[in-house]
């Protein structure tokens, strides 16, 4: 019964997200500004999604950290929350929703194809460091997603159609600067995520670092992000090059968060 309620709330949230994303894309293509409706649908979707996660949490007695279904659901929630904050606070970049929402649609499609069955909550997960580690990771990915929206708009504006769609966004140099700031914020939280993860790993498995696949890929993501930020300081990169680097870092991060945990046989599974 509770599982049915949880799924109904989730599907309702996904419908709200899809309506919101579709409206944002149509608004960009037709050069309309349905921003209030988009924001209202984002908030409605988030409220329903929060309720769904809460019902599941209460039913299972643990947070959404174990199965692919839970990890996808909680990450869609946190990415939506991050983008909603950006959408609400930085009105000038609202058109970037047309880039961000399709990425989230892919994750939602993946979620709908995943079994909502429950998993075992291992004893090593009974620690506050789980929440701290995952929380930092979610802030990193959320900041990277906002940067991806800006980077995507910069690259799409190189086509005539894209230039028309995204004409109301600030100049490429300004978008590039904001994307850089988002990635810098992400870098700090990625660093904190690695530190919190090391503290957790020390107590859970008796070592703070063991180069298991997820740790290695998280470090590769950190290095990719570090290289992209350092390259901006070292060279005067064009907005296009900066945008390509943002996309590359996000691709590595996406693989780390949603790919590696499920091909790894190490005890460090997808608690992200």
């Amino acid at each position: 019964m509770e599982q049915l309620l949880e799924l109904k709330l989730l599907w309702a949230a996904l419908v709200a997200y899809v309506l919101c994303g579709s409206l944002a894309i149509v608004g960009v293509v037709l050069r309309k500004r349905p921003e209030r409706s988009v924001l209202a649908l984002l908030l409605l979707g988030l409220a329903l999604h929060t309720a769904s996660i809460a019902v599941r949490w209460d039913r299972l007695g643990h947070g959404p950290f174990i199965t692919m279904f839970e990890i996808l659901s909680s990450n869609i929630w946190s990415l939506m929350l991050a983008f909603t904050i950006a959408y609400w606070r930085i009105a000038a970049i609202r058109a970037s929703a047309a880039v961000v929402m399709p990425i989230l649609f892919i994750m939602m499609g993946w979620l709908m194809m995943t079994s909502p069955g429950e998993g075992h909550f291992p004893p090593t997960y009974h620690t506050v460091w789980l929440f701290i580690h995952i929380g930092f990771g979610k802030v990193f990915l959320g900041a990277a997603l906002v940067a991806v929206g800006l980077a995507g708009a910069i690259l799409l504006r190189r086509t005539a159609r894209g230039a028309a769609w995204f004409q109301r966004l600030p100049a490429d140099a300004r978008l590039d600067e904001l994307a850089y700031r988002c990635m810098a914020l992400g870098f700090i939280f990625e660093t904190l995520m690695l530190i919190a993860g090391a503290i957790w790993a020390q107590d859970a498995w008796g070592r703070y670092w063991a180069w298991d696949p997820l740790e290695t890929w998280a470090f590769i993501t950190w290095l990719a992000l570090g290289i992209s930020l350092h390259a901006r300081v070292t060279f005067r990169l064009s907005p296009r090059t900066g945008a390509l680097m943002v996309l590359a870092v996000f691709a590595v991060a996406f693989l780390t968060f949603f790919g590696v945990p499920f091909v790894s046989t190490s005890p460090h599974k997808g608690a992200v």
Binding site: P122, P123, A173, R181, I195, I227, H230
Partner: protein, 343 residues
Amino acid sequence: MSVADSAIGSRSAGVRLLRLAGSLKFALINLAALFVGVCVAYLSDSRTVWALVVPLASSAVNLLAAMLTNAVFRRQLPLLVFHLALLAVIVLVALGRLTYLKGAAEVVDGGSFDGVLATREAGPFHGDAIAALSFASHGFTIDYAPGIRRGATRNEVAFRNAAGRLETRIIGDQQPLVLAGYRFYTSHNKGFAPTFVWHPAAGGVPQLGAVHLPAYPLHEYRQAREWVIPGTATVVWTMLQFQEIILDPDKADQFKLPGEHDLVVRIGEQRWQLQPGMSVSLPAGRLEYVGLRGWMGYTVFYDWTIPWLLAAALAAAFSLGWHYWRKFAARPWNREQDDGTTA
């Protein structure tokens, strides 16, 4: 060219070299080399420590040279703290790898750890303080969820604290026993230990010993092991047999010892089926089976750099946050021109 000119020339060449070593471009090369090194180490089956050590050492040189030559570090304290912290992280990781210890130990219920590890991996400069450590295990409980999914582990241990007083403590998941910097963690390895007393025919003190059978339930169907009677060359093959369901997959359960069981003992062609209290008489003495106990496996870890490494890593993260805060607060993202107050 005079001697003075030559000295000035070589000094300026040294400064140029130092500036080159501390340059942003060299830092980027090092980061890229570390990126490649991590990928090589991850994908390669052979020993590839050099792939990490070379770029890390080179990064340490770069960080040091940058702080010495780049004036921006004298103007921007957060940036200086960040680079110092990064350098400290690299140096501490290197020191940690030279002095660490990683190992495993097994202790039977009622027995004690006597400083001997079953497996051991240590840095070249690791001391041998662990040999002087000891603690006793008073037994353990492990919860299992339906489907034989391991839950909480609780292991009561007794040890002498720093004041020399005997102290007991429950350790388990997230709660290691820390003795002189060595951290003992309960592991998923645990099992049954048939316990014997060996009475030598020639007299002397009877010896108590336990045979650690393979981990249970990991090796549920391989509960047998060969061992040698102390002071003899007699090889004994021992197998535990029981009908009882130890961990019921259909309900929540706890790890427990089998109540009714037989212990099969084979020496050469001879075979005995023993129960607690029964003995086997051999030419060299009498082997008495006294009963079954549990054994707990521990992961042992030592690295004195951990708290310093944590402090350095946190200093790096927070100083970077401080640096970006100052830099970004000085100019809104949508303002065209830099006001010149930041690097």
